[in-house]
Amino acid sequence: MTRRLPPTDAVIIGLGWTGSILAHELTGAGLNVVAIERGPWRDTATDFPTTYAQDELRYHVRHDLFLRPAQETMTVRNNGNQNALPMRSWGSFMPPNGVGGGGVHWNGQTWRFLPSDFQQRSHNIERYGKNFLPDDMTIQDWGITYDDIEPYYDRFEYLCGTSGIAGNLKGVLKDGGNLYEGPRSREYPTPGQKQPYGPTLFAKAAIELGYKPFPQPSGNLSQAYTNPLGVTLGPCTYCGFCEWFGCGNYSKASPQTTILPVLVRRPNFEARTQCEVLKINLDPSGKRATGVTYIDSNGGTWEQPAEIVLLCAFQLFNVQMLLWSGIGQPYNPSTNEGVIGRNYSYQVTSSVNAFFDEDKNFNPFISSGAIGTCVDDFNGDNFDHGKHGYIGGGYMGAVQTNGRPLQSTLTPKGTPAWGADWKKSVKQNYLHTYQTATHGGCCSYRDAYLDLDPTYNDAFGRKLLRITFDFHENELKMSQYMTDRLAEITQKMGPRHLEKNPRAGHYNSTIYQTTHTCGGAIMGDDPKTSAVNRYLQSWDVPNLFIPGASAFPQNAGYNPTNTVAALAFMSGDAIVNQYLKSPGPLVPA
């Protein structure tokens, strides 16, 4: 039996970055907000204290902070002719869980997208002509410009205390920063992180080749910082346990270290943890959300009525919740119609492994999730693609994320994978090996999409989400070209031996790449080809807002968190300053 609770002003599904940001904006406007999170409450000193946060077996090998596949998983296939099979252990991406969401266990790489990224379709057609794009490529413009989103990038960076060096301050280019970035209204809140030996060598090599290196913008702070909410973060200690780990000493920006301390003090905010939302409820017209139904850890089922519903789960689960709730027209790849599940995209990464003589000692354990030197010369449309036959790109660099003992032990190809010779090779190479990497964008295609699996159900009897995805020629060409350029820079660092690992072949969901899954409920200015408008408001259900990477029409060559968070701030601003005054569609359909 479902019991009905007293109504609230807004209900939030999922208390990660976007849920925390929107809860803060809406409670700040005086609304009563209930956040429903299926994972546990998470607190720095209690749940990932310095005394054991650096447990690689627990967190990296055994996935302690992530969702349990038995609670929810998805099926995967490369194309529509295959039978999709369920993921029973996480592989290429790591679905977050618990309060703070992916913000607890991200690396802290805090990038802005390029101005042209938001007009990727029209920009590339204008520069290279319509025939340059493959027929099945379904990239779209976002319906916003860089100038629209800039104030919200700024808000998130100042919330986090992001460490970096501006390359374009109000249109004035500045050496030492990223000269390709869009104009930013002010400097980063804290200076760039100090660079270790490897990134320093990379910077020297890049400059010799005529590129413009700069320190990666980092959510692991170069110095202590108190944000505009009054919450203080500490300086990063370069321990190198960031991605897949919680930060024990308050130095990585996360909802816990930036927003939640203020949010929990507000009497009009409430979080219900270990409560799984089953679906968003609609009124008989199907055009208005009336709240959500959720199940608690006792197995009790509750209806929480609300005036506004904010779907703030991880990208894949946002799409899944819409399909379960019957909101929006599901995407049909054969007709190219429908919007829910449309334009699923990912991220295309590659690497170069360089093995040096013992005179070059990289001390890889001096690291942080976003400490590195990057070049942006091959990102987006920062160079002429005309002769290369592909669009898009990515950043590349020497990012020293970790030197962890179990899984960061590079050995040259041909080394046995275990035994005495493997140990000897690890010992010989650990200090003298450097991996550089590319982080490429991913276009969207007609045959890459999300829908509900016809065969497999979850623990509550709901259909699993099905991912149909493969890499396309555009991205494989991009990865090859970028990896070659990266190898040239890396070669200049002076290794004895170098191995290139461009992305090649089919997408393999069992090998970790990134957790940057995107799309499926994308933003745009046409309800026929997008699920949400520029304010992340559902075209179909105007009192439903859907922030997250699910709104990306395609992915750019950067880590998504800054853009995800900036869009959430932009949406919150629109809700508070426009929607509350006149509830209804903020953009005419």
Binding site: A224, T232, R265
Partner: protein, 393 residues
Amino acid sequence: MRSATFALLLLLAAVPAHAGSDGQSYDQISRGRYLATLGDCAACHTVPGGPPYAGGRALETPFGTLLAPNLTPDRETGIGAWSDDEFIAAVREGQGRNGHLYPAMPYPYYTKMSRDDVLAIRDYLATLEPVTNKVVANQLPFPFSMRFTLSMWNGINFTSGRFQPVQGKSEEWNRGAYLVEGAGHCGACHTSKNFLGGDHTGSALEGGVLQGWFAPNITGDPHVGVGGWSADDIVAYLLTGHNRMSAATGPMAEVVTDQTSQMSPQDLQAIAVYLKDTGDQSNPAPTPIAASDPVMQKGQAVYIDQCTACHGAAGDGIPSLIPSLKGSSSIQSADTTSLRRIVMEGARSVATDPAPTGAAMPSFGWKLSREQIAAVLTYIRNSWGNSAAAVAP
């Protein structure tokens, strides 16, 4: 008829009997509410999350448990039927309607309060919603359960009398003294107790142990007191729970939340001025234990591995986030109860509106041996200019 007369008499008894001020005026009630904050009455008389001043909160004393009574105007279970003089006798003399109060009620400090101030509190309490909540205060075991023993206690430990301003000291100093010694009852925790639980009056505010914590020396002693803090440091600590080197935790976190963060800046400044003028302000620091001492060496190894990530190699912490160990009077206190406890169990700093972070230290009790904890505390107490006795395992 007879019962009507009786009811009328009761009503008369409940009418505030003090002349000269309107017990229902805005000024009087808001002054009373502020004074109740100064007295931190809610700390004992309100169950966290429960109705204000309805009593029932358990107070753990060395002699057993007491439950704080209901102060709401409920006539049966609260103080609605009490006369003003009865209220004043309870607050200032420890004389309740049913006999002596136990000195967990800080009447030995409240005795310094003026009649006007106590009655203002009464007038404020009279505005609360009456809550029916019968509290049996006395949960003590024999023989402490015998209230008559308290007259003997009072004979030894209690001196009745109002606050007398000290001539030659500023008005601000005297206001601070009134707050610290009277309503604020700082000595209830920060003054050590004799075997009967009475104050060691000769060492007022020099620190005391209660509930498994050491409430540190808050006199102007430069080494183990607040002599090294500026008046602004003291005000910031009391107002926000944090200052440039320290953070409130344990029972003081609750005091900051309920009491000091609600005080006016002027009163906090007065407290700072007074505290800095108390105690032995020229107390010399002892000679530190040499860094070459084997225990110091062992402690340093533990410190580098376990503590530097937050407290820093120089022990100076991070302002507003991680307390400084360097120069900390708590760290150098003779009593190490709190230090051991914090290392063993961890501690959460108080979160306030101006300083909402509320960072916490994790527990090390599962990870470090008693010897390691003693060694690292000895190291911390004798590094970066600190000096204090070694900590025994």
